[in-house]
């Protein structure tokens, strides 16, 4: 199992966005997607890497087959959807790779090493901590609603929303207060540099991988691809 430095993963994510920004051609895109998928497979997350590979290949094939769609409206629509989804897929792959193979602690350490202000790191930590909490709360609220024979349905979208949102917010504010209290007594507000127990270090292959993954983009901009 080989794992890249979290900073390289963030760099790949940035590059995926550049891909969209520069509107690269298909060849460049394919090369870079392969470069994204390679460490994904090597990180041990074979299943989700494989899933992305298959989806990407399918979209690629659909795109090529519908290339000469002519005036057929339906075919044109399918082609458009396939290309559209394919274009955002590199971002999803890089994102899924970055966040499914990095623990929060590694991520915070990487951000600290990049000299990101502590305030932003704490915000990230809160978001990561809050998501599962909200999901847990949501499940409980749905159970509570079922007890009153209220079901989340299509017929009263606003009403169901109200029944979910109100308890969610009410609880959210107490959870936020309790979490702040717990974090404050553990010194989250201390001024001065915060450190990380987890240590990360850029290895030589991290640098090499960063350079390799950039080459296709440069070649495209230079008109070689």
């Amino acid at each position: 199992m080989i794992c890249l430095d979290p900073r390289v993963k963030l760099y790949l994510l940035l590059e995926a966005n550049l891909l969209l920004f520069f509107h690269v051609n298909t060849v460049t895109e394919v090369i870079i997607v392969v470069l994204f998928l390679l460490p994904f497979f090597l990180s041990g997350k074979t299943k989700s890497a494989l899933r992305f590979t298959i989806i990407y290949m399918l979209l690629l094939i659909i795109g090529m087959m519908t290339d000469s769609a002519g005036t057929n409206t339906l075919l044109n629509f399918v082609a458009m959807a396939a290309v559209g989804i394919r274009m955002i897929l590199p971002c999803l792959i890089a994102g899924a790779y970055a966040f499914s193979t990095t623990t929060p602690s590694e991520l915070f350490c990487a951000l600290r090493k990049c000299h990101i202000p502590e305030g932003i790191i704490i915000t990230c930590a809160v978001v990561i901590r809050f998501f599962p909490t909200v999901m847990e709360d949501y499940r409980q609220i749905r159970d509570g609603m079922a007890m009153r024979n209220i079901y989340i349905g299509m017929f009263h979208p606003l009403q169901s929303l109200e029944y979910v949102i109100i308890p969610l917010l009410m609880n959210g504010s107490t959870v936020a207060r309790d979490l702040s209290v717990a974090a404050l007594t553990k010194g989250i507000g201390l001024s001065g540099r915060h450190t990380s127990m987890v240590q990360i270090k850029m290895q030589i292959y991290d640098w090499i991988y960063m350079i390799i993954s950039t080459i296709p983009l440069i070649m495209f901009k230079g008109g070689f691809l």
Binding site: T103, P104, S105, A125, I128, R129, P132, T133, E136, D137, Q140, I141, D143, G144, M145, A146, M147, R148, N149, I150, E162, Y163, I166, P167, M170, N171, T174, V175, D178, L179, S180, V181, A182, A183, L184, T185, K186, G187, I188, G189, L190, S191, G192, R193, H194, T195, S196, M197, V198, Q199
Partner: protein
Amino acid sequence: MNIISSKNISFSYMNSEQASLKEITIGIEEGECIVLCGRSGSGKTTFSRLLNGLCPMFFTGKLSGECDTSGLQAGNATIEEYVLYVGSVFQNPKTQYFNTDTTAELAFPCENCGFPSDEIKKRVNECVQRFQLDGLMNRNIFKLSGGEKQRVAFAASTMLDPKILVLDEPTSNLDASAISKLRRMILEMKQSGKTIIIAEHRLAWLNDIADRYVLFESGEIKQEWSAKEFLQFSQSELYEVGLRATRLDILKEIIENKLNSQAVSGNVLLKASNLVIGYDKKTEVYKLNTFCLYNGTVVGLVGHNGVGKSTLAKTLCGLIKPLSGSIQWKGQMVKGKQLTDHAFLVMQDVNYQLFSDSVRDEALLGNSNHEQCNQVLKMLGLSEVSERHPMSLSGGQKQRVAIASAILSNKELIVLDEPTSGLDHYHMTQVGNLLQMLKKQGKCVLVITHDEELTAQWCDYIIRLDGGNYGTGY
């Protein structure tokens, strides 16, 4: 040498006219273990917040008098200054973790202080060794039981080696075996010379730990006893001052008898045969023996944290389907989800099941019988607050609002999940009386609980989900 000394401390929270603490004067010696006891709202928690700097810095308000904690003056020192001297553990295991995994949580205080990585690793290892937490490291906190969470939270509070530990109702959600594990950790810290302050309702586990008991009543220190004096009180003397039992052996005997008693009269409401319950076959499943529930009874459902009590409650309320086995309702076979029409679950955290903007609307949600509604609200003592927003009520009142909607739903099986966690003796008795009232109405009441006092005094019979003896004793 007093490590904590407070002189004539009074405190009232912002936006509150009533003083939460009045003229508190107390000295606590280094290495002492003090138990703060008394009813809910008597000022225990507020006093503990003065010791770790949360009052008046986070929970703002008006403070007068002097409170010195290891040289830090409440009101002058910031919360950050307290971090190195005072470790804190709070009541709710769910909201004590800032990180999503256990190891990171232990490292967190050290990281905030800027310790180098090697030093943090060393401290984490020492801590794991000291408290035997090996099995709990590198775990996702969302997959831990309440007891496990609370143990790691306690361990995290000791990471910076503070002289003082302040614990605010640390056991209110825990079962007997989880409490005894936490107890061992606290004892270990006491032996290493820490000063420990525990605000707590459940007193039995504190025998042999506590040196002194301080009784709070409406913001004042009513009385103080040494451990020796305190442990000589009889049960009824404790109840007189609103405190819970210090000895559980008598209660355990009663519980044991109720476990073995089979003599239950009444109509069989529900019969569950060979149930296998769980969320799906991949994760943990629980196999249950056949059992029956009867009209007009209060049934206690006991067992360790994580043994499947809540899963069973959800199954009986039709929120999840049993994986196999059958459930009969009044002799008729019912499919899993049909049970939602017959059973009502009052959750441990009732905030998740209050949806309307007034108590009356809440009670009428799903039942438009105004007359019955008025009756039920009156019976539960909610008439005066019927126009208020449910979220503006106290915890006990909210619970009663949920029970009101349970009654008005006209369902015959009412399941309560941990209705007395974190309650003092007075409020526990109130819940017990509510259970009796539901019983008189012919409902079947199933109570999931760790509370020995509630089970022994108010349940007709008891279903235990794990084999072996009830509890292991403290």
